[in-house]
Every structure is written in C-alpha cells, then in structure tokens.
C-alpha cells in the first residue's frame, strides 16, 4: 500500500504525516504523535476510551481512518490544559475522585466537555444518557456523574 501525505491540526499545532490507507486515527495519535492519553479499548466503537474531538465533534479514533483527517482539526485529552493549568473538567474529575484506574477517564472527559457545550445545565438523567457510550469497568459512574454535575454548577457562577 502506498503511503499518503496528510496535513492536520492536532491540539492547536499544524502537523504532517505519511499514512497508509489502513492506518487508524488511534494509531496515528498514539504511535506517530506519542499522544497516549487517548486509549485503545474495544476497537469496535462500544467503549468510548478512544473518544476525541474532530472538528469540534466527538468521534471514536478506533473507527476512523487516519487518511480521512486530512485538513481537519483534532483535539485529544492532551490538548485541554492551558500550559500547566488543567481544564476545569479535569479538575472536577480530580476533586471528585472520578477516576479509578484512569483508562476510561480521557474519553469520559472529552464526552463530558461535549455535553457541556450542547447542554450546560443537564439533569442527572441527561448526563447518564449522554455518557452512555463511555464505559468504566473499575467501579461505577457515581463519582463521574458527580464531577460533571459539579462542573456544570460551577460554570453557572
């Protein structure tokens, strides 16, 4: 398979890469760009561990061909902090101990941020509904829901 040149913006920076047609976005992120915050979980779109933003919309990096992100903008968990200052959603997850092993956390945070953009004041039911594609296998969702609620509350001022 011949390699195809692509250009894209990753976490605000312009990058170029040579990819094969069967390279997945998750492999471009982790193996080429060493952005290992995005996790490879199920590989078939069921767990949400590989959730990233593509042109400001949530997508699953395990089901996207790398070649198709040519000209697009990607944001991963590494792109959320401003310098050494974490994104407020990251802080809320930390404060609420909404993390056990941490494997699902990057995907959870990306999805939670997307929820806040669409619905800044969600009910618990709406949070659970929106987060249903992100699976935690350590423990449960109580602290995760709490972290999202607290973030929403803090944004109301």
């Amino acid at each position: 398979m011949k390699k195809i040149p692509i250009k894209f913006t990753i976490n605000g920076q312009q990058r170029e890469a040579l990819v094969q047609p069967n390279d997945l976005l998750i492999n471009l992120l982790r193996d080429e760009l060493y952005l290992t915050g995005t996790k490879y979980g199920c590989g078939i779109g069921e767990c949400g561990a590989c959730t990233v933003f593509l042109d400001d919309e949530l997508v699953l990096a395990c089901l996207i061909l790398a070649v198709t992100v040519d000209g697009k903008e990607i944001t991963t968990i590494e792109g959320l902090a401003r310098g050494k200052e974490l994104h407020p959603m990251q802080i809320s997850f930390l404060k609420n101990a909404a993390v056990q092993c941490g494997f699902c956390t990057p995907g959870m945070i990306m999805t939670a941020i997307s929820l806040m953009k669409e619905n800044p004041d969600p009910s618990e039911e709406e949070i659970r509904e929106y987060m249903r594609g992100n699976i935690c296998r350590c423990t449960g969702y109580t602290q995760i829901i709490k972290a999202i609620k607290e973030y929403a509350h803090s944004m109301k001022g």
Partner: protein, 305 residues
C-alpha cells in the same frame, strides 16, 4: 477469521472522490474488484476488523460535499453522508417526524451519531437498524444511482436479508426521500435493548393519522424481529377507520405477534419478542395517538427508550 486488534489488518487501495460523478465512475470501474463504500465507518470498519470481508478498494464518501445535506422544506430529503446528529438538529424532525427523531436518539451514543449516516444504516442492512422502521413508517424512498441511471426504491423493498440489499455493485445510495407528513399525524419509536447503547432486541415505529376520534391511517413497523424489517399490515388494517379504544388496541396487541412471527437469534428469543411486541404496540399506539393532538410540540415523555 480476523481477530479484533488495534490495527486494521486489511490491505486496500483508498479513494476519496470529491464529486458524486467521480464516485460513480470509480464504482463502475471497480465494481467487480471488491470495492466497498465508507461513510461513517461505524459498521464497515467494525466488520473489517472482526469478520472476513474482502476489501481491495475502499471509497470514502465524506469528501463529497454535494451528498452532505438535509432539506426539510417539502418532506425530507436527506443526503447520503450527513451524520445522524446533524439530522436531528432540524426542528421538523422532532415535531413532524417524531419517530425518526426518537430512533436516531436511540442509536448507540453521541460519538457514533456524529459519525454514522442513514444511508449507511440502510446499506449495512442490519435487521436491528434503528432508523429503518421509523423511515418505513413514513414511507421513505431511497434514491440509488450508478453512472448511467437513477432509480427510486421504497425503503421497505430494498432489503433482501441480513446484510443484503438489492443494490448492484456499481450502485450507490445517494439520497433518502420522505414524503410530507399528513396533518394530524403522530408517531413514536420504542426500542428494547440490553442497555441503552446496545443494538435493539426489538424495535418498533408507529405513525397514526387521526380524523376526529378515528384512526384514519396507521403504519406499524417492527425491526430486529426477523431477517428484515416487518410491516404489520393486517394489524394496520384492523385499526384503520376505527376509534382507537382500549379494547381495539388490546385486540391489535394480541394479534400483532402472530402476524410478525418473531425469530430466535443472537440478540434475543422469539418468546421475549412476542411478549414485548404486544406491550410495545400498545405503548407506541397510545403515544403516537397522544401526539396527534399537539401539532407543534410532541410530548416526548416516555418514548424512544
């Protein structure tokens, strides 16, 4: 059999046409050479990872701007590559095509809905597809094109079996057309799955047109109960032209399982589906009927689980 690994093991040549004409040319040229069409990837890439699928050429559709549209001015006209999440942003989907709105919201999770498309849902021909019963209930048609010609097929007639449609290898689904909903119509979609993000064990779309206290017309369409989507036409006939009393609804619910003859398969049992089809029909009819009264704002409570 492939194992599901972190890589996509298939080797293929990749095309990303920028126009529909270019895409149809490529399909004609490679139709006998295992060419597959990629839109959202939420079905095709999963299949490429998990089952043996010969793909020598892969054509990506999402760079074709002319297929990424929705027009709601006269019925619905939905382009092949517009993602689910963009479709539900149109107000009319919720107010007039409520069952379709609920069906889309019942699909997997937000990231999947940002990727997947209705044309893909149709082309994949999964008996469990959520948008299909809703679209059939609204008499949707599918525009299919190849380089030489176009044809329009009723959505319910497009499926030949699980994973099989009547599309020829050089043809592409380019658009889904849905007629304008008649006045005083209400609809509902109900899905039963193990957890909400799962595929349906059974799903149902109902559309009811009201005339005073009578059911002027209705459509009852079940998914995930057989090899293809099933319309319960006898049950529809039973209800047409009559007042939708509790008694009549009970009679319809009792009879509907005999009509649709659910099967046992990987996702559920016939026994479960028979029992659920009755309760779901009762709930969906009541919900759709209640929505015929409010023209602007349907009551979305209780539906689309």
């Amino acid at each position: 059999m492939h194992t599901n690994t972190r890589i996509l093991a298939n080797k293929f040549e990749y095309f990303a046409p920028k126009s529909l004409a270019e895409a149809l040319n490529l399909l004609e040229q490679y139709q006998e050479k295992n060419i597959k069409v990629l839109a959202g990837g939420t079905d095709l890439l999963v299949k490429m990872k998990t089952v043996d699928l010969n793909v020598d050429y892969l054509m990506y559709l999402k760079d074709i701007a002319e297929l990424n549209f929705i027009n709601t001015s006269n019925g619905l006209s939905i382009g092949a590559t517009i993602p689910f999440s963009h479709i539900v942003k149109e107000d009319r989907i919720k107010t007039e095509y409520t069952a379709l709105y609920e069906a889309i919201q019942a699909i997997a999770a937000p990231a999947i809905r940002n990727m997947g498309t209705i044309a893909g849902n149709i082309g994949n021909a999964s008996p469990a597809a959520d948008t299909v019963p809703a679209l059939v209930a609204f008499d949707a048609q599918v525009l299919i094109e190849n380089k030489q010609s176009k044809r329009t097929v009723l959505l319910k007639d497009i499926f030949l079996g699980p994973g099989k449609t009547l599309l020829r290898p050089d043809e592409l689904i380019t658009r889904i057309e849905v007629p304008q909903v008649k006045p005083n119509t209400g609809s509902a979609f109900i899905k039963k799955s193990r957890v909400k993000a799962d595929l349906a064990k059974i799903n149902l779309a109902v559309a009811v047109q009201r005339n005073g206290q009578n059911c002027e017309d209705c459509k009852i369409v079940f998914g995930s109960v057989a090899a293809t989507v099933v319309r319960a036409e006898n049950t529809e006939k039973l209800l047409k032209g009559k007042a939708l009393t509790e008694e009549l609804i009970s009679q319809a619910a009792q009879g509907v399982a005999d009509e649709i003859k659910p099967i046992d398969d990987i996702r559920s049992t016939a026994e479960y589906r028979i029992a659920m089809s009755r309760e779901m029909l009762r709930d969906a009819l009541n919900l759709a009927w209640a929505r015929t009264y409010s023209e602007a704002k349907p009551n979305l409570k209780g539906g689309g689980e």
